[in-house]
Symmetry: C2
């Protein structure tokens, strides 16, 4: 057996659009591992970053990345070899947008230069499968092995080759693929199969893979199977950090993992932690292909291993199992890093005494100092002593700054100006009376808090303010633009209402280990308190009944086979609604909707809002911190249009209402 | 010669996401043309609509479209044949997102049924080239002929075949392609070449092609060449209407055109007008292949022909020729139709006396009745008598409703609450003094106008309010979120400042034919009037010098080969800046930037804002009405990140500053 190379996985934090910062981190890792490792693997797109919008169209940016690629390759002279993901430009050819052709590529460099890839004939290998769904849009910017095959008349498999690497007198055949290449199951072309046919000694999957709840389990299942297919170890190297596409913020969770030839998880790096893991030579590269490596790996002391998780198959068409600690970890990481990225450290949170703002406050209190955290309660005449007391108790529990700023004086000015008046043309020939009342007056209160006070407070405090909306409110647009739909980030914007409650209890019970959120916050009825119709102490509040509407909205927004009123009504009529929506037992559908027409009226009310006002508001809403498999924003593309109902829905509705009449008669 | 079929082009208005409405329009056209036409062509995606976000993931929507497709095909029994663009679903196969496979497809139906396509073997043909740049993302949702070829091992050209259509005892070979298929020049695969090799008698290009300034000229050039390549007539059928992807609103301009076999424009339908054009049989289908049809077409009386335009090649890397009437037509159409789509007819516009709001008002006054249009001036102590007078004069000229609502009382309430105070923790252990002043106080004024007054006024008036920001302000984020960056639409959001002026003059001179915008509005210095530093009467105003910054920002945002400070600085140093930016003669660079360091300071100031605060604000900004080749929003994808400067930029800067020191010494 030849001397086995010491392999290291670098789970690095990638800063989007900052090639210098990223490349310098790579260079520092190479430098620090001279004599300690023989081959270091870095994530996909670790030089440029990944979610960069149309930055890929800037020639200066591409050139900049190119020269950093070269400097990294050069740094392997006399040191460890590296394999890293980056952008490669083929200036001699054009992409389908007419611009210089770019690849989502990887470079294997040793002895000071990038090795020629036997498949492409270039100093880089390229990604075969380009994801183009959810938040991904690789095909918008990059060319791939399949298009290249169509162009050259070669087989696309020709571009997939293990790279031959001479080390210590032996020639290793190292397989390398990028992220989606391993997620081949929905594609006709199967890169892992193609690679397996060429017998790599071991294979890297370099990824830039954002966190999604339940993804880790699914990946272990998929990648374990791919390792078995390869018949040799599979080393998954993922980035950490945050990246975004403006509307939606993603956390990259790392969790770089080594899979044995038998598919077992040999080693997993901690979520969200930067670090380098040097695999023990004792693991035996030579032995890996025979499957002898499936004993648990020993690792260097540089990073912590998390317990191996058991793969299990999530049922993607149902509500994914809600792991509170997992979601909390992602939200905390994302919120903290995003705050850091603004260059500010101070946060203002409008606290109503309700659960959403309380959870937001308890979350930020984890990493914002008490003197940098300002909670503000802004009561009008409609806010109860109950909620005002809860807001104050929350602030007292957190020990942070607190202010109560009533909005009645300001509302009086507004009402005095435009509450009840007449507007006319300059020459007086036109006269129109106007009154500010009803919902318009309710929204005026919300904007007075958000657009007037919170924004000004944040500016004078030198910080940001949060948007505390949740996904159940965001779906129908239950909130006020420039009011409570405002702020630097929606940390809870990808959580349903029941998940906000669960996160709140987790924050108290586990994270803070004490009652920072007063227990009564979880008990009172959720209410906007914008009119006498929302009196909390009388049990009046939001028009949504969350145990039901959370799941109804989920079926439209997040369910994999996306439902519409057509499916909902069909389920209702055939008695499978509770099962399809996975309603909790407390929901009594008969009581909630005594007659089909009640069900239908509710369904159409909320669908029309989801397709109507909801979209209008989401277009101008703050960025959402994504944790689910379908977050609002870039991951849930939509348009401003009319709410529509299919022909089949109309038929079902007609039949249901006719049956109801028949029953009555 | 056989009896030639009477062919009609239906330039229909397509309503996105409304299959019933669209299909019923198609059915009505078929019905109305029984006995008057033999073959009617409709646009691409005329049943479902085109810009629909992820609506394509809804099975109920796809089924709904499917049954409308069938009803349209059935309606051809005993009537004219049709060819129309729509979505086709292959339920037996999967797309790369794992969902049922969908095609951007076309159906040719005659005698009550969809004809089998000889290439696909299915009752539909499919698009070969899927655009995936700017606002387009066909590949996200649709499978195409090229992927199919890779999967089946067939040649992609096999899926391109003229469809054989029996009419009046003769067999016609009708070529059909969809939109991008004709824009083949940047692609390796050339569908028109492939089709030409199969000798169609004539060819339709069914399109859903949004308006972009200068597109019509470019299309005439490209399509003329394609007709020559085909050696037979090319009939371009485009939709009219508006569609959007939330952040960006597009107008579809129609301008359906018939190109002769020699590439000449034989006929062009009017922009933005719905209509059916029946081509005169005298044009001679049989004769078309021989090129005899290149005489100007006579058309039915149902629609107006616009004068044929001369093809010319726009220089895409330069500022496109600004056609005011063309831009005005698109903006007016888009703003009017978008207002209609909200279901409201009333509009509130905050008028400062400056040019942007004045142009916005003069624009909406074209189609909003005086009693439905409310202009509001909201002065603080910083607003001059000059601008207040201009605002009032504008309203008087338009004869619409007008109000002056000062914001000083409201500012006093805010300053009384948080202007100069101390905030503390509940137990008093922490105390922090806060002052609302400087820029924070300036923005408070803007939010008082937008978030407090305009939003409340629009709600009580029962209408919407506009966002009057232009592209030169939007680029660096020169505006206040929840303040002047708020509203239902940015009608001027895709115009540079000098284009806003030009549009304003056009509105006065041509559209209204009188001075509705007071001439002084064009003369005063542009200013936000938020502090004593912005005193208009003293000539103080915006920090941008628009004659220069308009073009600098253009080079970053809109120039095809997108510039960055690296290119800008290189141009400055080699003396080509004025030429590259196409600066107007009035810009004296030497005077503007006496020393390199002045140029660099200005460059970095604005680039940092464009990459920083500008993005933050655009994420939450209202939808932009697109008219350029790169509008903010979905057409200009970006991310929240750090402004960065390339290595080469840093070198150039170092050198420039060193040279400057040298000169001094």
């Amino acid at each position: 057996m030849v001397s086995a190379p010491r392999i290291a996985l670098c789970q690095m934090r990638v800063h989007p659009g900052e090639p210098r910062r990223n490349a310098e981190a790579v260079l520092a890792v190479i430098e620090a591992h001279r004599g300690r490792a023989d081959l270091i693997a870095f994530p996909e797109m670790c030089v440029p970053g990944y979610l960069l919008g149309d930055t890929w169209e800037r020639a200066a940016f591409l050139n900049d990345c190119g020269q950093w690629n070269q400097r990294i390759a050069a740094a392997t002279a006399g040191g460890p070899a590296v394999v890293f993901g980056t952008v490669a430009v083929d200036r001699g050819a054009r992409g389908e947008d007419g611009r210089p052709r770019k690849y989502n590529a990887w470079i294997f460099a040793a002895d000071g230069r990038a090795l020629e890839h036997p498949g492409t004939g270039r100093p880089y290998g390229i990604k075969t499968l380009l994801p183009n769904y959810r938040e991904f849009e690789d095909t918008r910017h990059f060319y791939d092995a399949r298009r290249l095959a169509l162009e050259t008349g070669r087989d696309w498999r020709d571009y997939i080759e293990p790279i031959p690497w001479e080390f210590a007198g032996a020639r290793h055949r190292v397989g390398v693929m990028l992220c989606e290449d391993a997620w081949e199951d929905d594609y006709v072309q199967k890169p892992v199969e193609a690679l397996a046919a060429k017998n790599p000694d071991f294979t890297f999957n370099l990824s830039a893979s954002p966190f999604t709840r339940g993804k880790n389990d699914k990946r272990n299942r998929v990648f374990g199977a791919k390792a078995r297919l390869l018949g040799s170890p599979l080393l998954y190297v993922n980035a950490v950090g945050i990246q975004n596409n403006g509307k939606t913020l993603y956390t990259f969770d790392g969790q770089s993992t080594v899979y044995g030839a038998d598919g077992a998880v040999l080693q997993e790096m901690a979520a969200y932690e930067e670090g380098v893991s040097i695999l023990e030579p004792g693991l035996g590269l030579g032995g890996w292909r025979s499957g002898a490596g499936s004993q648990a790996a020993r690792t260097s002391a540089e990073f912590a291993l998390t317990p191996n998780s058991q793969p299990k198959a999530p049922n993607i068409s149902r509500i994914a199992p809600f792991s509170i600690p997992e979601a909390h970890r992602a939200i905390r990481y994302g919120a903290e890093k995003f705050l850091e990225s603004t260059g500010l450290r101070k946060v203002v949170i409008g606290v109503s005494g309700g659960v959403d703002s309380a959870v937001s406050a308890a979350l930020f209190a984890e990493f914002v100092k008490p003197e940098d955290l300002l909670l503000v309660n802004m009561p009008s005449r409609f806010n109860s002593a109950t909620t005002r007391g809860l807001a104050k108790a929350l602030a007292a529990n957190l020990g942070c700054l607190y202010a109560e700023l009533p909005i009645e004086d300001s509302l009086k000015v507004t009402m005095g100006q435009i509450g009840d008046w007449e507007v006319s043309s300059v020459n007086g020939s036109l006269r129109v009376p106007l009154r500010l009342e009803g919902v318009a007056f309710e929204n005026t209160q919300a904007r007075d808090r958000g657009g007037r006070l919170l924004a000004a407070l944040a500016a004078s405090f030198g910080g940001v303010f949060t948007c505390n909306i949740n996904k159940a409110e965001s779906t129908p647009g239950f909130g006020t633009l420039y009011g409570d739909i405002a702020g630097f980030l929606s940390p809870l914007g990808d959580l349903w209402k029941h998940e906000v409650y669960a996160l709140g209890r987790h924050l108290n019970d586990v994270v803070h280990g004490r009652e920072v959120i007063p227990n009564d916050v979880f008990e009172i009825v959720p209410s906007p308190e914008l009119s006498a119709d929302h009196a909390v102490d009388e049990g009046k509040g939001d028009p949504m009944y969350y145990p039901y509407h959370d799941r109804l909205f989920y079926s439209w927004v997040q369910r994999w086979d996306r439902a519409t009123p057509e499916e909902n009504l069909a389920w209702y009529l055939d008695g499978t609604l509770a099962k399809e929506l996975q309603l909790p037992h407390e929901v009594d559908l008969k009581k909630l909707f005594p007659r089909p027409k009640d069900f239908i009226a509710d369904l159409e009310r909320w669908w029309s809002l989801y397709m109507g006002a909801g979209v209008v508001k989401r277009v101008q809403a703050p960025p959402v911190l994504a944790v689910s498999s379908r977050a609002f924003g870039y991951d849930h593309r939509e348009y401003l249009g009319k709410p529509v109902y299919t022909e089949r829905y109309q038929e079902l509705k007609k039949k249901a209402l006719a049956d109801e009449l028949l029953k009555k008669a």
